[in-house]
């Protein structure tokens, strides 16, 4: 019934080795080069405050990109994450403004974000697995639904909070490093362990590589896919906490706008195959950092705002070209 451990291990090791060697070195080299170039191009780049700004700016989409990595490796995609940030953000602000005790409000709001994100992710996952609709179509629809609900609950108006503690979560520092950055890196470590050192992680890769084969080898494909969407939802919840608390408000039309594209770009730059089956969390982290540094450089050097999109697009294309040319 169950596959023998000796038979699964070499397969899993191949999954593990391939992305690590091929896909991570190129983005890492690019990141290091970009970093060096940036330090020469702008005298302000290495400023500690600038570096901590870049990391904080990266962390909102970076956290989401980590969740996206699981979904993409499992052979799916999640276009709804940006709208989900807005909807979860609205829920966070609602909880904050309903409960009077400030500390209680913050704790419950954060809990609501994680649970809310998980539920929305589960909703996506169920439609994909039980409803048997392609992930692209499901999340295209829920992207529209989540945004619409966020707008409806708030009458399209920005919501602010007077809770004195909340802004400390996303705006605060621990050991000189912004809390969103801690969250991003800790999440990355946990996710890396989950993806590369657990049976679940190997199953995610196997399902994405070939769902049929995975099914025949006894992997519960539906459950794996569902979990991947659930993880993406939880990541969105974490990101929504960081973002809304940094801004001390949420704008339903604006929060998470285009985050899905930034997250997918980070995953792709990081060497994860859009076709699924292989990928790394570290690649995604590097991809997110590359995007963040490019954004920061364009702003620091004052490149024409009209050209910034071109530079970003070109880097994404370049990264993908360099990585995929080698695959026959």
């Amino acid at each position: 019934m169950n596959p023998l451990p000796q038979r699964t291990t070499p397969l899993a090791q191949r999954f593990r080795r391939l992305p690590w060697n091929a896909a991570i070195l190129a983005p890492l080299a690019a990141l290091i080069l970009l970093f060096v170039v940036s330090s020469f191009a702008s005298e302000y780049f290495l400023n500690t405050r600038n570096l901590s700004n870049v990391l904080r700016q990266v962390s909102y989409t970076g956290i989401i990109a980590i969740g996206m990595t699981f979904v993409i490796i499992a052979g799916g995609i999640d276009l709804s994450v940006g709208s989900m940030v807005a909807l979860v953000g609205v829920a966070v602000l609602y909880v904050l403004n309903t409960i009077t005790d400030p500390l209680q409000a913050v704790i419950l709001a954060m809990l609501a974000a994680v649970v809310g994100g998980a539920l929305l992710g589960l909703f996506n996952g169920l439609l994909v697995t039980r409803g048997r609709i392609a992930a692209f179509v499901v999340t295209l629809a829920t992207m529209s639904i989540f945004r619409s609900l966020a707008l409806y609950f708030t009458d399209a108006a920005e919501v602010t909070t007077r809770n004195p503690l909340f802004s400390e979560v996303g705006g605060g520092f621990v050991l000189g490093i912004p809390i969103p950055v801690w969250t991003f890196f800790l999440l990355a470590i946990v996710s890396h362990v989950l993806l590369f050192h657990t049976a679940f992680g190997r199953h995610v890769c196997a399902v994405g590589a070939n769902a049929q084969v995975a099914r025949y080898s006894g992997i519960r494909v539906e459950r794996v896919v569902l979990s991947a969407f659930l993880i993406a939802g939880v990541c969105v919840g974490l990101s929504a906490i960081m973002l809304t608390s940094r801004l001390n408000s949420v704008s339903p039309s604006d929060a998470g706008y285009f985050y899905e594209l930034d997250a997918i770009a980070a995953v792709v730059i990081g060497g994860t195959a859009l076709s699924g089956g292989r990928g790394t969390v570290w690649g995604t982290v590097i991809g997110a950092l590359i995007l963040g540094i490019i954004n920061n450089m364009l702003n620091l050097t004052g490149v024409s705002p009209y050209l910034q999109g071109l530079v970003k697009g070109a880097v994404i294309l370049l990264a993908v070209l360099l990585q995929y040319k080698r695959t026959p």
Binding site: N21, L25, L33, E158, S167, L247, D254, Y257, L300
Partner: protein, 333 residues
């Protein structure tokens, strides 16, 4: 396997490409850092995704070019953002670069509130444009006159119609700016009991939406004398609907904003487009000029005081009589 060899090739290729980028970026860097300027002013506006915001970007570029020539000791960085959160990052990045003044038209005020407060509290001379913050955190606030826009349009329409007729109103989305315009419009119209407002509907200030809303309204109202569009992009869409439906009962269409397309229509004596009221995107240019004088501690013209803390630009009615003053063929709006 072939991985290690392939990796080497990838890294080499990547190195080459990145070296080129490095060179380009480094050149850009030196070009900017070369001249030792005393004041650095950062400007950030919403990206050009609507006629009015395109005008905003055009005027920001125009003003910084002209002011750089006049004030060699001032340098500018202009950024734009396609979302409120992107604009937060804009401000954070600008603040790193020894910023003396910040000119910002906030994408959405609540999202930008905390980062603008940070800049202001750091002693950066802050000019907030058009959209007011809930908790003031600025040296200067400059905006157009929204109630004035509605009021001027209403007076003009009432006068042209001789105090009687049927009217359609094309509103914007349910945001404060729109209600200020429409409320002021309706207040003037209360003085004209014979002017009948048949319908007042939301077009989201979006041309496509405006086209279908106008079509529907024209279909259900056979006798219409005049239309007021609170935005010039909406006016253009309304004209299209009127022409496609061959409606010759409509004598007058008045807009809001003061776009060059509508100004050209007025200038070339359009049969029904006879007036619009300014809500000028060039306010960003004035805001940048205010920042230049404000950060240097200078006075404006012959004023006996420094730069005022609040400035509301007049809403001017543009008709055939004064259209030449507002004609700026190169402007983006």
């Amino acid at each position: 396997m072939l991985t290690s060899h392939a990796d080497g090739v990838i890294t080499m290729k990547l190195t080459r490409v990145l070296q080129k980028t490095a060179l380009a970026t480094a050149l850009m860097g030196t070009a900017l850092g070369a001249s030792a300027q005393e004041y650095h002013i950062g400007v950030t506006v919403p990206a050009a995704e609507h006629g009015w915001t395109a005008g905003l970007s055009w005027w920001a570029q125009q003003a910084t070019e002209e002011l750089t020539e006049k004030h060699p000791d001032v340098s500018f960085t202009v950024l734009s953002a396609n979302s409120g959160t992107a604009q937060v990052a804009n401000v954070e990045d600008l603040m790193i670069r020894d910023l003396d003044a910040l000119v910002i038209l906030p994408y959405n005020p609540a999202t930008l509130q905390s980062v603008i407060s940070e800049a202001y509290e750091e002693g950066i001379y802050t000019v907030v444009v058009d959209r007011e913050l809930e908790t003031p955190a600025q040296n200067v606030f400059i905006a157009g006159d929204n109630p004035g826009l509605g009021e001027q349009a209403a007076r003009y329409i009432a006068e042209e119609l001789g105090g009687e007729g049927n009217l359609l109103v094309l509103e914007g989305p349910p945001i404060p700016i729109n209600s200020q315009r429409v409320d002021a419009f309706n207040q003037v119209m209360e003085n004209y009991p014979d002017i009948n407002i048949l319908a007042s509907q939301n077009t989201d200030w979006n041309a496509q939406q405006a086209l279908s809303v106008t079509e529907d309204l024209l279909g259900s109202n056979p006798e219409v004398d005049a239309i007021w569009a609170g935005d010039d992009d909406v006016l253009i869409a309304a004209i299209q609907a009127i022409e496609e439906n061959n409606r010759d009962d409509i004598q007058l269409v008045v807009g809001g904003g003061g776009s060059q397309r509508v100004i050209e229509m007025i200038r070339s004596d359009h049969p029904i487009v006879k007036g619009t009221v300014t809500y000028p995107p060039s306010m960003i240019a004035s805001a940048i000029a205010l920042a230049v004088h404000g950060v240097k501690g200078e006075r404006l013209g012959d004023m006996y005081h420094g730069v005022p803390s609040r400035m509301i630009l007049a809403a001017d009615l543009i008709t055939a009589d004064n259209v030449e003053e507002y004609y700026e063929p190169d402007a983006a709006y």
